[in-house]
């Protein structure tokens, strides 16, 4: 059983919701990424999404764009993100790690070479924003072959016939994008998100995580009632941006704790 699947199975028996933080690999500094991942787990994260920096992050808002640019300026790359995952695996063999990024770094490495290297590094899932379902069949099969979960997005604009299309390729969990838009700060329509997340959960045989624009424990808790997982990204990156050097781990832990408490109140 994949780490992602066993994580959701365990959470289900415990009747808890998954907290999935997103951080950009190499931000604010490459040597901090593994300690940040460890701190997030210690503070209650169940799955970690690790952003692979890309020069043209089209689906991301300003916060994650800035983190991507800063990480690239530190020499971060897909190869190095895999190395970070390997390092993390030396101390944590349980927590699933999902790489989230864009197609071109994978294209440059070669899809098959990437799948092998990612499996070897201890990655559990791969979410590639611009590998739309239309273009993802072969890649998803390659991931499946080496035991990695191909994770896909569903959006408020996705028609129900795509949900079934997605079912054929998707593994691990489905990432429901809460809004029409890019990552980052905005008003969320909680009622609509709840209705969509519930419908998708009922239709698919996979856990549903909701992300984009979730900024506090209260919102996380409200959405978690209708989902299996909550994904928080920009808010963590902001915390890192605003943190004086040396306080990053403490700030990140505090935010993760707060979100955890919110989810556990559900």
């Amino acid at each position: 059983m994949s780490r992602i699947k066993s994580t959701f199975t365990r959470l289900q028996t415990e009747q808890r919701k998954a907290l999935i933080p997103f951080i950009t690999a190499g931000f604010p500094r490459p040597e901090l990424t593994v300690p940040l991942m460890q701190a997030l787990v210690a503070a209650g994260a169940d799955i970690l999404e690790l952003g692979v920096p890309f020069s043209d992050p089209m689906a991301d808002g300003p916060t994650i764009q800035r983190s991507s640019e800063a990480a690239l300026a530190h020499g971060m790359s897909l190869q190095k993100t895999l190395a970070i995952t390997s390092d993390f695996r030396k101390t944590d063999t349980v927590t699933p790690v999902v790489l989230m990024g864009y197609a071109n770094p994978i294209e440059a490495m070669g899809q098959e070479a990437f799948a092998r290297a990612a499996a070897e590094a201890g990655v559990d899932g791969v979410l590639t924003v611009d590998y739309a379902l239309e273009e993802a069949a072969e890649f998803a099969a390659m991931l499946d072959h080496v035991g990695l979960d191909a994770i896909f997005l569903l959006a408020p604009t996705s028609k129900p016939e795509r949900w079934t299309e997605l079912q054929k390729l998707a593994r691990g969990y489905v990432y429901y994008v809460s809004v029409k838009g890019v990552t980052g700060k905005r008003e969320l329509d909680l009622a609509e998100i709840a209705a969509r997340a519930q419908a998708i959960r009922a239709a698919l045989q996979l856990p549903v995580g909701v992300g984009f624009g979730i900024r506090d424990a209260k919102t996380a808790a409200a959405i978690a009632e209708h989902a299996d997982a909550i994904i928080v990204g920009s808010r963590f990156i902001e915390e890192l941006e605003n943190s004086p050097a040396g306080e990053e781990l403490a700030r990140i832990s505090a935010l993760a704790h707060e979100l955890r408490r919110g989810l556990d109140s559900v």
Partner: protein
């Protein structure tokens, strides 16, 4: 080769093209594709498009025989397809009229566009004013500095110009930002992409709207010269003017199709914008798979060209396919060569070409002397050079 029926239904030209976008945009692309496929077979739509091209754009654009220039070169005759005479000053308006009519048909009150040199931005702002849409144009802050006059032009036309400060602050970043806007405002917004790139169906529909250039040439060449040209030459950034003039000629096997990319400071220096000529690796950016200038880690690298309109790391997927299939040839002209061609056309024909088009001209001037006087080179003069006064003056050490 028979006329081919590409792209396939999912937008592929061989291994190129496709639909590489975030899920949120899929429904909008489906809606656009359905609307376009219906519209293009609707006689009323086709008729309105043609009427607008005639009465608003001023088509057909003439083919002009550059006799003094040809005489100076002493070889093949240079014929210029005068897209610079279109309303707004370039071929960009052809596509903008087409997409604006689609937007109207789809009931979208707001249009957005990306722009590099500002020609597409001006054309988009123009049609937005013409059809009464709200218009937002994304433009890299570096390009805004290079193209101040076009920025003001867009504002005069009622568009909002949003400076893009991310990445290299040029065309590719403007396209990222336009995509982000579209994702956010997808229900009421039509994204007018300016070139034959982006996710399906854009490369197909932009090409189709631009083929008016080549279709006119087929008729005009017969009328004026009694035959078709020996070669067709056009500059290639994303490649919309090139595909517009090439496409109707693809079935004519003995007519050479030559795309001219921007060699910047020289292909060997690495400071250029010529993915096809430099044999860049294929990759995925802005919704399609194509030749892409990138580093070994798959990060997109900064390009360089004196011409903002060619300053783009990728190229339309159909050009990638035409290169691999051997039907079209791709070469590059440097900044210096383009500037020389620019000055020559000014002095010998009284025509000030856009720096983009000057690349095509530079290559024509290179090969014409090697060919007989009876040969005909048809060059797409895609735009006029008024917008480039500042850049050219600066190169000559002149400040306004």
């Amino acid at each position: 080769m028979q006329p081919y029926d590409l792209p396939d239904e999912r937008g592929h030209f061989g291994i190129y093209g496709g639909i590489f976008v975030a899920e949120t945009l899929i429904a909008a692309l489906e809606e656009l594709k359905d609307a376009y496929l219906t519209a293009r077979h609707d006689p009323a739509f086709v008729k309105e498009f043609e009427r607008e091209l005639k009465h608003y754009v001023g088509r057909p654009s003439p083919i002009y025989h550059a006799r003094r220039l040809s005489e100076k070169l002493g070889g093949a005759q240079i014929l210029l397809k005068r897209e610079d005479l279109n309303h707004t000053g370039s071929h960009k308006v052809n596509n903008c009229v087409g997409q604006a009519l689609l937007a109207k048909r789809m009931g979208k009150p707001r249009v957005i566009a990306e722009t590099g040199a500002g020609q597409h931005g001006v054309a988009a702002a123009t049609v937005a004013a013409r059809y009464g849409f709200e218009c937002v144009v994304y433009m890299g802050s570096e390009d805004i500095k290079r193209q101040a006059a076009n920025v003001y032009r867009m504002k005069l036309l009622g568009a909002t110009v949003v400076p893009v400060e991310s990445g290299s602050k040029t065309l590719k970043d403007a396209m990222n930002e336009a995509m982000r806007d579209w994702v956010t405002n997808v229900s009421d917004t039509f994204y007018i992409i300016g070139t034959v790139a982006g996710p399906h169906p854009y490369p197909m529909l932009v090409r189709d709207f631009q083929t008016i250039i080549g279709r006119e040439c087929l008729t005009q060449m017969t009328e004026a010269f009694g035959r078709q040209p020996d070669a067709v030459i056009a500059c290639v950034g994303g490649g919309s003017n090139a595909l517009g003039i090439f496409h109707p000629y693809i079935p004519f096997q003995d007519i050479r199709l030559i795309g001219v990319e921007a060699a910047g400071e020289g292909i060997a220096t690495g400071r250029h914008a010529a993915p096809l000529t430099a044999n860049a690796r294929a990759g995925v950016l802005h919704g399609n798979r194509t030749y892409l200038l990138q580093d070994e880690n798959g990060q997109i690298i900064e390009t360089h060209s004196i011409s903002a309109g060619l300053d783009y790391p990728g190229v339309g997927p159909e050009h990638a396919w035409l290169k691999d299939s051997g039907r079209a040839e791709y070469v590059a002209a440097t900044d210096t060569e383009a500037l020389a061609a620019f000055h020559t056309l000014c002095r010998y024909e009284g025509i000030i070409p856009a720096l983009e088009s000057s690349h095509a001209l530079a290559h024509a001037m290179k090969i014409a002397p090697t060919m007989g006087r009876d040969k005909l080179l048809l060059v797409c003069l895609s735009g006029r050079g008024d917008k480039d006064m500042h850049t050219v003056a600066e190169k000559s050490g002149i400040q306004f």
